[in-house]
Subunit: 333 residues, 6 copies
Amino acid sequence: MEQSLRRVETGMKKQYIDGLKAGDTAADVFVLSAKTLAQKKDGNNYLTVTLTDRTGSIKGVVWDHVDEILDAGLSSGDFVSISGRVNEYRGNLQLVVQTIKPCPPGAVDPGDFLPQTRHNIENMFSRLVELTEAIKAEHLKSLFKRFWDDGEFVQGFKVAPAAKNMHHAYLGGLLEHTLSMALLVERIAGHYHGIDQDLLLAGVILHDIGKIREFVYDRRLDYSDEGRLLSHIVIGIQMLEEKLSGVDGFPEEQALLLKHLIVSHHGTREFGSPEIPRTVEALLLNYIDEIDSKVNGVREFMATEDPNEAWTSYHRMLGRHFYTGKNKKDHLD
Amino acid sequence: MEQSLRRVETGMKKQYIDGLKAGDTAADVFVLSAKTLAQKKDGNNYLTVTLTDRTGSIKGVVWDHVDEILDAGLSSGDFVSISGRVNEYRGNLQLVVQTIKPCPPGAVDPGDFLPQTRHNIENMFSRLVELTEAIKAEHLKSLFKRFWDDGEFVQGFKVAPAAKNMHHAYLGGLLEHTLSMALLVERIAGHYHGIDQDLLLAGVILHDIGKIREFVYDRRLDYSDEGRLLSHIVIGIQMLEEKLSGVDGFPEEQALLLKHLIVSHHGTREFGSPEIPRTVEALLLNYIDEIDSKVNGVREFMATEDPNEAWTSYHRMLGRHFYTGKNKKDHLD
Amino acid sequence: MEQSLRRVETGMKKQYIDGLKAGDTAADVFVLSAKTLAQKKDGNNYLTVTLTDRTGSIKGVVWDHVDEILDAGLSSGDFVSISGRVNEYRGNLQLVVQTIKPCPPGAVDPGDFLPQTRHNIENMFSRLVELTEAIKAEHLKSLFKRFWDDGEFVQGFKVAPAAKNMHHAYLGGLLEHTLSMALLVERIAGHYHGIDQDLLLAGVILHDIGKIREFVYDRRLDYSDEGRLLSHIVIGIQMLEEKLSGVDGFPEEQALLLKHLIVSHHGTREFGSPEIPRTVEALLLNYIDEIDSKVNGVREFMATEDPNEAWTSYHRMLGRHFYTGKNKKDHLD
Amino acid sequence: MEQSLRRVETGMKKQYIDGLKAGDTAADVFVLSAKTLAQKKDGNNYLTVTLTDRTGSIKGVVWDHVDEILDAGLSSGDFVSISGRVNEYRGNLQLVVQTIKPCPPGAVDPGDFLPQTRHNIENMFSRLVELTEAIKAEHLKSLFKRFWDDGEFVQGFKVAPAAKNMHHAYLGGLLEHTLSMALLVERIAGHYHGIDQDLLLAGVILHDIGKIREFVYDRRLDYSDEGRLLSHIVIGIQMLEEKLSGVDGFPEEQALLLKHLIVSHHGTREFGSPEIPRTVEALLLNYIDEIDSKVNGVREFMATEDPNEAWTSYHRMLGRHFYTGKNKKDHLD
Amino acid sequence: MEQSLRRVETGMKKQYIDGLKAGDTAADVFVLSAKTLAQKKDGNNYLTVTLTDRTGSIKGVVWDHVDEILDAGLSSGDFVSISGRVNEYRGNLQLVVQTIKPCPPGAVDPGDFLPQTRHNIENMFSRLVELTEAIKAEHLKSLFKRFWDDGEFVQGFKVAPAAKNMHHAYLGGLLEHTLSMALLVERIAGHYHGIDQDLLLAGVILHDIGKIREFVYDRRLDYSDEGRLLSHIVIGIQMLEEKLSGVDGFPEEQALLLKHLIVSHHGTREFGSPEIPRTVEALLLNYIDEIDSKVNGVREFMATEDPNEAWTSYHRMLGRHFYTGKNKKDHLD
Amino acid sequence: MEQSLRRVETGMKKQYIDGLKAGDTAADVFVLSAKTLAQKKDGNNYLTVTLTDRTGSIKGVVWDHVDEILDAGLSSGDFVSISGRVNEYRGNLQLVVQTIKPCPPGAVDPGDFLPQTRHNIENMFSRLVELTEAIKAEHLKSLFKRFWDDGEFVQGFKVAPAAKNMHHAYLGGLLEHTLSMALLVERIAGHYHGIDQDLLLAGVILHDIGKIREFVYDRRLDYSDEGRLLSHIVIGIQMLEEKLSGVDGFPEEQALLLKHLIVSHHGTREFGSPEIPRTVEALLLNYIDEIDSKVNGVREFMATEDPNEAWTSYHRMLGRHFYTGKNKKDHLD
């Protein structure tokens, strides 16, 4: 992770799609998102391709050496080294590809190809670890120690997205969402007496860990096989169970209540929770998750909209237009 | 209100139903909640009655002078002065009524007959007024000044319940719920930048004012005709519009956004909002309302349950048993 | 309104889109519905535009003087004076625009640019006023007098549409729909005894007045900010309340029942009514509204379909194909 | 039917349950609605019974000759000749039965034992026949002639109820509901041009004929086996098909459209229509059915409620209280 | 049918769309699926057409003699004799049509133009007849004899599809689906004692016979008017009733239960069954139908998907991607 | 289990509730299901109790030594040794309790107090083990070996119920349901080619193992804390994961697919599956589960109904009456 983060800063990749102009010469690594074989009028093959990086996508065409390229076994999703020229075709940019070669994943920084949190991942992670160190209940503290000592877990936890679309759908999104919820717990929980704050905080931090395996996010953001077949709730329970089994004397009722927070955090069966919230902490966790994902999701959506319009376009998942008003500048910085 | 509140303290009513024992002589004012005429074997009439005050209810029977009582025109819901004796009948207490007479509403303190918030109403109200005085937007400040200067409004706002069942279903419940939400706004809103906190706070304080007229709560807690025919959202909009019309230069967009917070605060049309939330502030208001009403509703429900059981009975509205666990003492004080 | 209606008849606008043929010279006012900036292969800008009037739309292209046009600040939704030539391009007509200039709204008749009821607005309005003059209940008569004396209200009431899509989605649609329902009340209400016909008629005439402000319909038909944020039910209640406050001695129960008719006229909460019908009159109003909007909506839909087919295309909102049969000529004139 | 109707007038049955008083001697025929065997403290059997006629029900007890009675094979639902004495027991009337004997169905008038329409059945039927004679389309006229010539069909059509609960749940209810809808068609249909009025009227008259077989209504009102297994829509289609096959030259498209009116008259699949309305006539039939059944159902419900209350009790099927107001006398005669 | 089946084998049609290559000369019969009139730049008309057979579709263009062709009255859905040349245009094949003439339906084999079951229709039908001959209940045996003796019924039963999309959406699909279910009955039914296997088998074989008339499948696969207006359940009941009326002494209860199996076989009203299953046999029939249609539908869907992907594309009706895994070859032959 | 099963046969418990008659002396162990403290008219306490065993329940009363009994700390759910006399009171039997003493759970056979499968548990279990031994896939065979070698698991698997109500709600119900489904798999699976039968069989046998911990069934049948907080799907996944981790070289994809069968076996999220079926095997498992639970549930329900009625009473969960007909004897043995 250290290395990966440094690469983001040093910027091995020089060209980004949103910076290409007609007339430019392109020579860099992109993700080959799509590839279609077609036939020219003279009967020869050509390829139309879509290339992406974290800033957007561009269509391209490969006129020559198509058979060699096919033999090289390029698949959708591969990193490719491209050289070519940027043209304008019917008002859109188009990349006329001269060479296209496979590029080993190890030689690139995934962060160049997938959108990433705007916040500093290490800072966010340190802040979260501090919160767990302030927990009073010893068994929960020990549990988190086990998680933080697991390098592979930490690596995934720092990089995983929180969703494929909708909200926090970028590298580091899971961590950003988790930290935001944990800070909300600190704010809200004291408002009501009689809440088991340690348990609630632990539940918040662990509620979405299954997403580390629910998604693949090495070069494109999508569901993993395990994610689609089991769901992050079931995956998360297995990950928690594995760590719990290593903490001596973890109280049985607390283990049950902690698992319940994961199991019920979607609030209803319709939304994929096999059980509904049956404790006050579980009710609160569901609401805090709702607030953080909806507020962030709507704000990310608003940010991509035309700032000169008082209304956003139609938000399909939420089934509505949002009002951003006439003085947006003051509202959203 | 001043007078009413003093009366609560001086305690004109001496006997409460939860204090009656077999053998006691009863002589005080109660609400006649229900009344049924029946026939004795000798062909004469008798009355079975239900009497209530804020501590509970007791069944009673009136054997004599029934025709005179009927001529006096007593109706369900009236305050009645009772004298009689408390018996035990099949394991339950029963009041054998000797005299029952109408009692003018003016002579009693409604607070004796309906459950009331455990918190100090004047303190809560002062706290809320302070919050509105800290608002920076002048037009909102002026709006609240107009509300607080309206004695009749303030009187209702302090006494109204927030619901008939479920949560805050007692005198002062509206104020308690509103203040709790306002304090939550203070905690949560700073967490997200770009929120119009003044507007959100104003919306929170005004979102349920229609309940002042949606309910009747002079001697029993029920829906008013207006409440059932129009809903508190529509009533609240009318109350707000009347006050807005008296504030010079209230910005039109802000008026619209403030009304939108009231109109959309139930979150979906199914729950009675004619429009769904279309601003981030409206989303937040809906969630804060959900949290405060659900957490309080569930905790009130838990408080009435058998403390020796790990599970509550079935909560019909929420469709589930809640887990209160084995160490409840530590959780709920 | 007088002036506007005369203009409709005198026809200031000479050319309508559905009359343009390849080879024509176009020179008239249209609405600039959409506008996109693009780049020619030589690097220069050009504009693609969509122009509309009440008879349809045509695509256009502007090759020259694009920068001057952009400097003139034309926005989507503006009226524009156009000169150009009609070509045929890939089987469709296309307007090659030579000049395009802003045109002040005052200089045009909106009726030329939005579809309009086929019925005579003044006749419909007179018929409706007569119906209200035949009402026996004095307080309702006085209420309608106040509405009809409000010139601005009457202006809007005559022109507003009843919907954005689906049914009566044209200028004068609200009036046409309202009158049709009022005439249905006359037919149906006598069928059942014990209906308060005056109240039902008043409810029918006022049930949708909020649509006067729910929509904008000056040059395009869309929701207003207020419409999307509050809904026409809430707007209508405010409009009624304002008029009611000026009628001395309007009986309180009648005011409540009249408001209830507006509040509940969508029949269920899912459809945006904050309260469901709780009187027989409210049940009837909801059904009469359903009948008139559905029958008209379906007939308008059928009228746009291919008369040679026994089935319409798929009606998305109603989720079905409609059968128009083989002898349609006899059915739908 | 003639005979049956005359019997209603001559009144073979002398005693009705709603007229019994403590001290009366009872001696008449009732329906044995329920029967339970129990044991006295001395070990002997006794029977508790429920007896009904069209005016209500009364509990009874049979102390003696229980074994002889059991041997006689009395079942729930049988007509029984009773002699006994009316007592008062815990405030309710109770019939101490001395003799109870089976009574052959032929010897009684079912109209005495089931509630019946308040309207004159023969008058209603004549009115409906007149409406069908005024139909212009010859094929529909011929079809109705075949129905009216079928004595068994007419007999059932005059007596069947329209429902088990909710609306028109009494003998003659189907006819009353059908006639009311047919008269509504006359009122509404002219309002919209282009409706096939003859077809709509035919559909209205036939839409519920399956209820003749869906219910049993000889001594109690309940679903028949066929009704529960097939539904009145499927039964009605079979009844119509049988009659259609006897009309020469009935146009195929009209037969299809007429069947469609029956098949779709519940409006949605959820309500039991295997197909949804796909013609304007089918839409209208569904709405007219809704109006007539809801308005009548709600008014029947209101009529049984306490006239001194402004609100009805909770209507379970419609999920609401209805407002009947304070001046009901004027509204509902 | 005999003749039709022989034609399938002899193969009158020589050219199929999936076999056409650029440069080929086309000369055979196709279905004219769509036809659009357009204008060339020189002002003359041309036609764009879509031609289909059971193997796919191809776009075409007709440059010459357009007016003569239009005068010949060709409509969408007609069989047409085509001569022309296959070109490649923008990477797709295109048929440049030289002559296009109507072709009488009698001269073609519909099986050439619609997809067809891969199984032998006669073999499947014989297998099904054998199953009915093994039924022990004489009345059911007689009933099937009547069905199998009806040549027109058998003809339709062998050819009809089972659906328009989703599953068994090809000629012979109804028979294939029915036989598969009947064989499943043999497997499952013995597992539970007390099932009326004869009745269940009869219900399975007859449950979808209404589809013979619900669809048209002479040259394209679509709903018939009757299908859309009545549904195959209602049509099937009429077909069964007609046959039942010819079987002497068919037990009334068995007729009712058999009809119930048809009426309830979709399991819920939402899915178009006017009554829900109320016998164990009806429950089983619904499940067996579900299994056979879903398993086949999903497998047909999987078969059209990219074999190199572990997941199918999104299945719109079932709302999910399916996992086909990495070793599909072994699973699906 | 061996011992437990032998005890069932030897019958330590002599008296069962369904065999008690008025006048009997009772002296045996029962479950104290409910207990209420009440006051006699003389002011002394008495107890009303409900006693149950696997054959039913009886009310009882304890007049004397109540304080000693209370001091003994008896709770609802305890086994108690009772002596007393059976009386008849108001037509019901009542037990007048003379002595009531706690009875240690170890001294009783739970099978005497909870209903139990009618089938032989050991035979069913052997049959199931045989099925797993016939599995060809070695990794699945090894997995089952691990399950069958775990004595505690086998003990629970043999005794657990399959539900609290509805179907197989008795000791051994899980095993009975699982075996029935496994035998159905054998029947159905061969019908469709390309099914992974070993995997499907494994999924069927393991799909409900979480119910071993979801319920408590030592003396009463109810949900466990874990069951209500996590659901049997999540519990089952943990139990499977624990066993999988002990099988060397279990193929990863097969593990995923096997877990998917458990996760998705309820078919939809609404019914508690966090993921929906995404393989053909998962679709089949869901249907086989549906068939076996519904057919058994309905047949158990029918078996408790009045055999003289053609219709059952209303089945609340399935929302319908079932038709059992007039010749039930032949159908259900």
